[in-house]
Symmetry: C2
Subunit: 320 residues, 2 copies
Amino acid sequence: MDFPAQITAALAQLHYGDEPHTLYEPIRYIMALGGKRIRPLLTLLSAHLFTDELSHVVRPALATEVFHNFTLLHDDLMDQAPLRRGQPTVHEKWNPNVAILSGDVMLVRAYELFFDLEPKSLPLILRRFSQTAAEVCEGQQWDMNFETETQVSIAQYLNMIRLKTAVLLGFCLELGARLGGASDEAAEHLRQFGTDIGLAFQLRDDLLDVYGDAATFGKRVGGDIVSDKKTFLLLTAQAQASPAQQAVLARHIGVPTPDANAKVQAVRAVYDELNIRAQTEQLIESYFQDALQHLARVPVADARKAPLHRLALQLMERES
Amino acid sequence: MDFPAQITAALAQLHYGDEPHTLYEPIRYIMALGGKRIRPLLTLLSAHLFTDELSHVVRPALATEVFHNFTLLHDDLMDQAPLRRGQPTVHEKWNPNVAILSGDVMLVRAYELFFDLEPKSLPLILRRFSQTAAEVCEGQQWDMNFETETQVSIAQYLNMIRLKTAVLLGFCLELGARLGGASDEAAEHLRQFGTDIGLAFQLRDDLLDVYGDAATFGKRVGGDIVSDKKTFLLLTAQAQASPAQQAVLARHIGVPTPDANAKVQAVRAVYDELNIRAQTEQLIESYFQDALQHLARVPVADARKAPLHRLALQLMERES
């Protein structure tokens, strides 16, 4: 079964609404910008652990992708991001009000994609989805709060990325498991598998920002450093820096600079001295191993788990 | 049964979330600003037509109030309104990003208030709620579009207020009816009763803006005229104006003015010459009569309908 092709085809069939065009065209626009469609893929792969009958899983799987794009739409507005996947963001191409309102409708449409489920499984799925949705908003709010806070602990940062990024991946796995007929216990292991993969995935993103290959990363390398973003790398460096290294960081972080390249180089030099790259890779590996342990406890033959295992590995080893 | 007191008490018990405070405090703030709580009241009164057992109706009724306040929060941001019920709006008291994100969580929390319903009634209720929610967004988008459109027909305007205001009142009635055990037909009549009342209610609002008593209206009289809002009154006047009256309107509408009072007086003078007030009252009365016909077709004793009938009358005759 070619799940990615199935997802692409099903997404193309979704009907969000017609009029007013200014409300619905931005939804079609952002959904057409592409992306790896990892979330619905995780849901289908998770369900496929337990059953070959996936027809009822497709629309709920798409709900996770519509929801994810809703968060991108509103986050891009809040972050005043000019581009998304190399194209103008909705608030740039239209205006901020259109971005607010189109996003609101996307959240409604995401909910609607669950309503064909059997009524008896609906309440639990919707409760879990709603809790996840609120947590994703909490993560985004923490992320914005951290921009102006001087003291952010590593624990606070990890909690923020868990909420903002990881819990949705966990939900995607749990959703597929439950719709595939998994036990509560197996669904919970898959949720934790997804959350751990999500944490590792986001840390990998932080790492690529500093140590990625400009040619394959697709974003400007060092962007987090230039924007003073309190990532795991920076917070760890700040926690471990010698007085001399503290001074270097203090000279560059939170200070306007005319020379962004010099800033990136200086901060990266401190990272290198402190082995921040290896430390981050260690934490990624640790989350990945936790994830695999949860997957191992799902009572399904290993051969059946191979595609999900492979995708998790790809997400860890990606260069972009 | 004192429904308003019951609603107030139940609203005070709602728990939206704790941290981050910047996400949840604005929700408690806007919900505490008050308002007439008409939507949950309509739901309870509608359910009470059919049953005295209303315990399962309260939380879904509150969902309509949380949803309504979510729309106010995002609309105030989009309209850049400084005040809501005499207090600073959320985007003013905090900032626009907080308003976006707190609103998003409110929409999620509104959905959650339905999830205790019996699974078998859940899908239809959620479908109807989601359709209504999308329509309310459509109405807001039309309203914003109309600000920059030169040609808006009266039919387009009536469709806009139907979507932006009336369909939610219709949903409140339908929700109560269905949860009270009404037949599909009775639920549909109550939905239409609510929609007609909503249309009349909004037209009454347009009328009060121009002809209300400044002391009781609570908003600045003539605000719609000053802001060139294309209301039923203005669109009707433009459609019926003589060349001389057209010239008066053209001199004032869409033209920046140092003297707002002169503008209000000039436009109102044209309204008076064209009997716009009586025409608007006629249309309100027509919607009200349609509403009553739908209520009459609900197979319940008249005595049982009295409280709902009385509330509808109050909404029509209000001075603020």
